[in-house]
Symmetry: C2
Subunit: 478 residues, 2 copies
């Protein structure tokens, strides 16, 4: 697979300066001799299915085609041709991203990893799984459960999102509060670089200190530095049955203060989620669960500490009560727990029934959660936008979701302005514009104000070093 060492990058980089023009026709002709017709899509009506992810406000361009490789060698061959003919590449998994990272750009070529969906190995002794990027998170979850193990990162989309997309965005999830995000669960990667060379990082050891941490660099790089074709993921022993708590609050800041108090009090629940009134009402409207829709907010906590779950929940209940929490219910019944968690997972689909949604993903230091909640309320009022806020309050990562009527351009404009205001508020509170969804196309305009300028310049230096022709998902992430 290799086509020379680092020297080649420099050589071609000089050659690239101004000489070579993109040649889409020759690129597609070369691909046609590489891939069978059913895995090389060029007809517009079939291509339409590969243009979008779940970022509804991102307008995709028209790609020149899409490939469905079934092995690393094919991905490498595609990238070698893309390099030779200067064709921008948009990699995509299941297309469930919320920031437009997988949205097609005009004239790009799509590499869909959905056919590379095998669980290559699950080793219960080493506690690792080796996966292809198209495997769904939920499929790995089930396979691990059969061995009494768990794959910790659990984005709300776990049933429909692919591990490749999870890796590209450094996806989080509900129990990441206790068990860490995708980057912490990734021990090694196989990555195809822009020029088609194949690289392997990390391995099966838990600790690795030899050289730079390329694994961490590629995770979360949103397909702009390479295409992940295989991953070694860390599994954990499945925790015992969880105990679950629900508490209702009459004001949002009170719920926020309870979150901050729980973190400061030394309790480490596996899950600590918040749903505000707008979200509660949307969930109830879609699936009547008997939630208190008069409350300003609901907190949902889960503890899986072996032998100490009840004790942890009691500490959480006390922290909630001290901040005015009421109707505090705890349960050790797994079915009831699953039902309460489902309420949380319903949040986005329920809000999506109310109109077009723009899902925010800001994160702030934990004790700033009350301030962020207050800022969101003020922004909703100032911009006259419906905002349903829910998310991973325990780690300061919230998803204020802006909802507006389809086809209402003025409302859309207000929602976009409100989203920008929410990101600015998070940054002003010492936080970030994205905790787990990534930047994609949706947030790129907000990145310069949220990152140190030298850090952003350094990211661009790394991008040029690894992708000197700029063919990998250009215009995304940084």
């Amino acid at each position: 697979m290799a086509r020379g060492g680092a020297g080649r990058i420099r050589k071609v980089s000089r050659k690239a300066s101004g000489m070579q023009q993109p040649s889409p026709d020759r690129f597609l002709a070369a691909l046609a001799s590489l891939l069978p017709p059913e895995r090389l899509v060029t007809e517009p009506e079939r291509l339409d299915a590969y243009r979008r992810d779940h970022a509804e406000l991102v307008t995709p361009g028209w790609p020149i085609g899409a490939a469905l490789p079934i092995e690393t060698g094919e991905v490498a061959a595609i990238l070698r041709l893309a390099t030779d003919y200067r064709i921008p590449i948009v990699p995509r998994g299941a297309g469930t991203g919320l920031a437009g990272g997988a949205a097609a750009t005009e004239g790009a070529f799509i590499v869909s990893l959905t056919r590379m969906d095998r669980l290559l190995e699950l080793d219960p002794d080493d506690l690792v799984a080796v996966v292809q990027p198209g495997l769904l998170n939920g499929a790995l979850r089930e396979a691990a459960a059969a061995h009494g193990l768990m794959y910790a990162p659990d984005p709300a989309s776990f049933e429909i999102s692919s591990l490749g997309g999870n890796l590209a965005t450094n996806a989080g999830g509900l129990r990441c509060l206790k068990y860490g995000v995708t980057r912490e669960a990734t021990l090694g990667l196989e990555v195809v670089l822009a020029d088609g060379r194949v690289l392997r990082t990390g391995g099966r050891t838990v600790k690795q200190a030899a050289g730079y941490d390329l694994t961490a660099l590629f995770v979360g790089s949103e397909g702009t530095l390479g295409i992940i074709t295989e991953a070694i993921l860390r599994l954990r022993p499945a925790p015992g049955p969880a105990a679950t708590l629900v508490a209702f609050f009459d004001t949002l800041p009170a719920a926020g203060r309870a979150v901050a108090a729980i973190a400061a009090g030394g309790v480490a629940p596996a899950v600590l989620e918040l749903l505000d009134r707008t979200t509660l009402r949307a969930v109830e409207a879609r699936t009547p669960l008997g939630l208190d829709t008069a409350a300003a907010a609901m907190l949902l906590a889960q503890s899986d500490a072996p032998g100490a779950a009840q004790q942890e929940l009691e500490a959480i209940a006390a922290a909630c009560a001290a901040q005015g929490g009421r109707d505090i219910i705890t349960s050790r019944d797994p079915r009831e727990a699953e039902w309460l968690m489902a309420a949380r997972r319903e949040a986005l689909p329920a809000l999506e029934r109310q109109g077009v949604t723009l899902l925010e993903d800001v994160a702030v230091p934990r004790r700033r959660v009350p301030d962020l909640l207050a800022a969101i309320e003020a922004i909703a009022a100032a911009h006259a936008v419906v905002i349903g806020t829910f998310g991973h309050a325990g780690d300061g990562n919230l998803h204020p979701t802006l909802v507006f009527p389809r086809g209402d351009a003025a409302a859309r404009g207000r929602a976009e302005a409100a989203a920008d205001a929410i990101m600015a508020a998070a940054v002003a509170l010492g936080g970030t514009i994205t905790g787990e969804h990534g930047v994609g196309l949706l947030k790129r305009h907000a990145l310069p104000a949220s990152l140190d300028p030298v850090a952003l310049a350094t990211m661009h230096v790394l991008k040029v070093a690894l992708d000197p022709w700029g063919i990998l998902n250009p215009g995304k992430a940084i």
Copy 2:
């Protein structure tokens, strides 16, 4: 502080090609107007103290001088001058590294961060500490404990090693088995780049998905990509009192099998350490603790699971017994626990009393620990070298320590050959040549055989991108 954006790197890089010669005299003269004499060392007798770290087998070169900056601005000014005059820079902290990462190279200039040793902030609500690199790990440990918190990474050297060095090497430690290594405890960094620009990564949020993970890239880069001048570190609520277990085994492989069985059995102790007979005898010879020096190995486990420590230790005791473990003692007495942990921390100093030591740091997938132990035994016999093996068996990271008489060149040669054989054995078992000490100068010859060649080439591409003049700790790490 900034001297232009990314464009400057490219411009100077072109200018650098062949034109500029190092000018140490002009460099030192410029520094003399920047730093007071007591913080600019050039006399050989004073310089000698800045030449070495704890890698005894690494022969350091003679530096042209050493600076002791007290603030980031001084570090930036030094690096700007180093860039202008093409002077290689060796950053150093407390000098406790075991791979020669801080060893002086001939003609280099030392930047010692020991005077930048302040705890800038400890925020018990956000659970973060903001530190300068010269602060000792143990000092942060104490400050955190005063708030009922802990900083998890605990290298055996914690009382004498600096956090900057911990960051540079991605240091591990005993309880990293449960709580993760330095990289997992680092939320953000301030870094001075080769050209003197100052960069800030990350922040105080637990989750961050905006742009590439520069934090993870700089952690573990051994001072070859930038000098860390500040870090935002993650604290955790201090766990309750731990329960401790000791078990003795009559064969090394039996102890290794017990380790693998504990991991596979779903128990997650905070600490799971191994000491072999050679190490036990060395410890007893230095500090009589009543350890069974007839045993082939001792396992030392600690659980701090709230409410479930005893239950976890019972599962560990059962796994040990099933593999022939005997004289299994468990204790919940904190003083007894501290005493048993001290036995582990005595391991290296005790072996160092027996001769010159070459401390290995290999890691393998967990179920390969018995194979690694068997390989080490065979290598010791084949090379006629005394090897005391101890370390973090629970995460597959062992420190086989080769001991030979001072001044015995033949024995030293055998030890070096045995160390190479141990690294090769770890790689053959799917492991790595360093789990937590880094590559430094000591292991650079072994790196190509242990990393994917495209990964290593990519590391060099990143190095050139961030340090185009190659002035940062040249010849180390990659």
